[in-house]
Amino acid sequence: MAICQARAWLSRGLTTLSSHPSLRVCVVGSGPAGFYTAEKMIKAHEGAFVDIIDRLPTPFGLVRSGVAPDHPETKIVTNQFSRVAQHERCSFYGNVTLGSAVTLSELRELYDVVVLAYGAESDRALGIPGEDLSGIHSAREFVWWYNGHPDYRNLNPDLKSTDTAFILGQGNVALDVARILLRPTAELATTDIADHALTALEQSSIRKVFLIGRRGPVQAACTAKELREVLGIKNLHIHINQTDLEKNQEDEEELKNNRIRRRIYDLLSKEAASGPSVPTSGQHELHFIFFRKPERFLDSLDRIGHVTAVQFEKTVLKAVGPGKQIAVGTGQFEELESGLVLKSIGYKSVPVDGLPFDQQKGLVPNVGGRVLSDASRDPTMLQKGLYVCGWLKRGPTGIIATNLYCAEETVGSILEDLQQGAIGSTSSIVKKPGREGLLQLLSDRNIEFVPFSRWQKIDAEERSLGSLRNKPREKLTTWEDLMKVAKE
């Protein structure tokens, strides 16, 4: 079994490879996958020098720009990542973009090992008419906006000209977004939510949020903690259609085999059974809508180019294999009105030049983290010294911890290849330049990289700005501000 083998290599790594000459490793991306890879690599190989580059001046990937502002405990893992970054054999270089500041082939020239862990910075598309109307955003954009990602501080979603928001998809990201729209802003005010987002939410006229899934409550993709939280929002009326909770034979089977699904279903059933069925005045509303597949977005008549409604097709479930049911259309359609639509149907990775990429799945073809030369996955066609980890390797699913096991597997593959002589500088003549080479190249190109010590300046500034407002931090949300503070 691949992972067991990986682990064997990991534990053996310490003893058998410690005398190995130095190994230059570059990790691209400083999210959980990047940091866990660096940590495991440093632990397993005493000669490993790991440089982590990131396109942002700030580290931690989605832990900073994805994890919801009202989930501070989840971000505690950055303490561990910071210790890794400050390890004597590890360096962080922010503001260095793979694909523009440095190319993949350059990195592969400079380093013995390159691990790509640059996540998924695009979106799955629905591919239906009207998808590019204004008022429609991907959840990724909306999340980056409220979390102060410098590329999306100007998104300015219009929260004022409609009282209804549709969220398409019922995964954890969808629930995060629903919670941010519905949670009392006084509660958000003490989080690290971006200032521009807090202001916009304070002025928001959104009162009704619809979480819309193409399948049923048994298949809802969220997890219990997130669901419990959104159900627990103060003064919120929750609507779930009782009839949607009816189960078929396959549903029962799915529930029997899946603890998460079972707990989600129970929470939804309990909620549906409790509470008044009509909202009291002034209450915000959250509607769970099941069995609806978006068909087209409708343009507004008085605000041309802006979404005004969505046409949905009703669906039923169809079994396509053991434990798997898909949504199929029934030919019945309905239109529901909303001036704000957030598509939360999954992220998608983007390729860089020279990287084998599976366009259909939106990830890098690999075996145990070893990059394959083509998507047809001939396991003998490996890209020497090139590895992948995290969302770029597995696709855009999994929690922070999933990346830990994912990194274990990738590092296991690296150690195995090293042991077998497939990578690494075997003779001193071909020693790779590593860090010195990268820094030379960045300096030749006038690229102002942000080392970890400079990120710490940003960090300190954000915390001190935050403390003035009773927030854990006030994020700097423009490139100018970030770079200015980093250089101070």
Binding site: C4, S11, E73, I76, T190, I260, R263, K393, I400, Y405
Partner: protein
């Protein structure tokens, strides 16, 4: 903000801080001690100062409570203030340690260089300190996991019938002799339907 982390400091230090007047209830997860241990805290409490404070304490008592345990052993006191806990790692190797009553298994593991992850440092926001209680008898001595712990266990890799989070299992006399296994890799990051074979 002082209380939440006290369980992790270990009861010895707690006593030092409170002049030894505080008597530790012999309790299980979910009872009075957990109330103080505050592993499940309302959100928004984590202000930057508090956070820094916490991590300072965390590092300080890291050394402190180790010495406390050592001096205990030297004193050879009758009253059992530590219990014996055996961790079984992924390769099946065993390590037996002494854990002061009141300390969480996560904390104990970290003090003894046992490779138990703890991404959220015991704040019940991740599942990385997942341990498997090896004997049903001991598992039954533990209070049932709370909803919040179960929410996290949902996401633990290699979940079993006797899985718990290390941060929620607190040393207490009746747990003396407990054996905890670190989960073995039975994980599946199926990229395209690849399912690891059972080993």
């Amino acid at each position: 903000m002082l209380f939440p982390r006290l369980s992790r400091i270990g009861i010895k230090i707690f006593r030092e801080l409170y002049g030894g007047k505080f008597t530790v209830p012999l309790c299980r997860t979910g009872s009075a001690l957990e109330h103080y241990s505050g592993c499940w805290r309302p959100q928004f409490e984590l202000h930057p100062e508090a956070k820094t404070f916490q991590s300072v304490i965390f590092q300080k008592h890291h050394q402190l409570s180790t010495t406390a345990a050592v001096s205990d052993a030297a004193d050879g006191k009758k009253e059992k203030e530590t219990i014996s806990v055996t961790f079984v790692d992924k390769d099946g190797d065993e390590k037996q340690i002494e854990v002061p009553v009141g300390m969480s298994m996560l904390e104990a593991a970290h003090q003894n260089d046992i490779e138990l992850e703890g991404a959220c440092e015991g704040s019940l926001a991740c599942s990385t300190c997942h341990v498997i209680v090896m004997d049903m008898e001991y598992y039954n001595k533990l209070e049932d996991p709370t909803d919040e712990e179960n929410d996290m266990l949902d996401l633990a890799f290699g979940l079993t019938e006797t899985s718990r989070l290390g941060c929620q299992v607190i040393a207490q006399p009746e747990l003396d002799g407990i054996r905890l296994a670190l989960p073995v890799a039975t994980r599946n990051f199926a990229v395209d339907g690849y399912v690891p074979k059972p080993h």
